[in-house]
Amino acid sequence: MHNDPDTVNSPAHPAAGRLFVTLFAGMAESVGSRRLEIDWNGGTVADLRHVVGRERPGIGPLLERSAIVVAGRYATDDTAVACGADVAIIPPVSGG
């Protein structure tokens, strides 16, 4: 999963109306990329879950058990996600 071509060669910032979502571990492996680009014109974390789940139904079960990080902080479903926000999906952790 290192140096994914779609991550290395794509722009650092999404185009207007798009959002980059950073993926990790099994979720990144399922999608085949560490970064998912979705249509986005603003909304909440709950909206984001809906859009990601619709675009990538294969990760739905893991997404249901995952947390969302917005701007470096764990977010709740009513947290606002602006266009261009720094967003990551955190699947259940297993460090240690």
């Binding site: 990790f24 571990a25 990080v69 955190i90 699947p91 259940p92 952790v93 297993s94 460090g95």
Partner: protein
């Protein structure tokens, strides 16, 4: 226990001593090279002396066999900025909660071969009970809350990411 001389030398090693802007009491690192547990313990003991009377080191390492199933190795990855921030918060809370003199947390990323350490937690306190309790407390919270993941490679070469629990309704983490 390391001698005072050993402790002083190890505390200067890159990785386990405080960097500019860090408290000397709590130091957390994400590393890609093998963890030298003795150096981690020596670093925390050096900072904590002379108040410390109990210095505990926990090393978590890759098991080669789990319930009869062979593991060839583990690969770890993390949301590094968030993981490091959370480790620092946990270490600071452990110092407050258990009255520690010092605390070190080092988690390895990348490939960790069987027998090698993936995590080192060192706690130093005036008395042993608090150091043992803090180490256990920290490990449980790291395993269930900090965004670090392991991928197991089985004896047949099949790799599988480990995603136990539920980050929304409870916590992640497992054995």
């Amino acid at each position: 226990m390391p001698t005072q001389q050993t402790a002083a030398r190890s505390a200067d090693e890159p990785g386990f001593g405080p960097r500019p802007g860090e408290s000397g009491g709590e130091v957390c690192r994400l590393v890609r090279d093998p963890i030298d547990g003795a150096a981690v313990l020596a670093a925390v003991a050096a900072v904590a002396a002379p108040e410390a009377g109990g210095n505990v080191l926990f090393l978590g390492s890759t098991r080669g066999v789990t319930a009869g199933v062979t593991t060839l190795g583990l690969d770890y990855e993390a949301h590094e900025p968030l993981a490091l921030a959370m480790l620092r918060d946990l270490a600071a809370e452990a110092v407050r909660r258990f009255g520690l003199c010092g605390c070190r947390i080092v988690h390895r990323l990348g490939r960790v071969a069987v027998g090698e350490a993936s995590i080192a937690i060192a706690a130093s306190s005036p008395h042993r009970r608090e150091a043992f309790a803090a180490t256990e407390w920290l490990l449980e919270r790291i395993k269930t809350t900090v965004p670090i993941w392991k991928c197991e490679e089985g004896h047949d070469g099949v790799r599988s990411w480990v995603h136990p629990g539920d980050m929304r309704t409870g916590l992640g983490g497992g054995e």
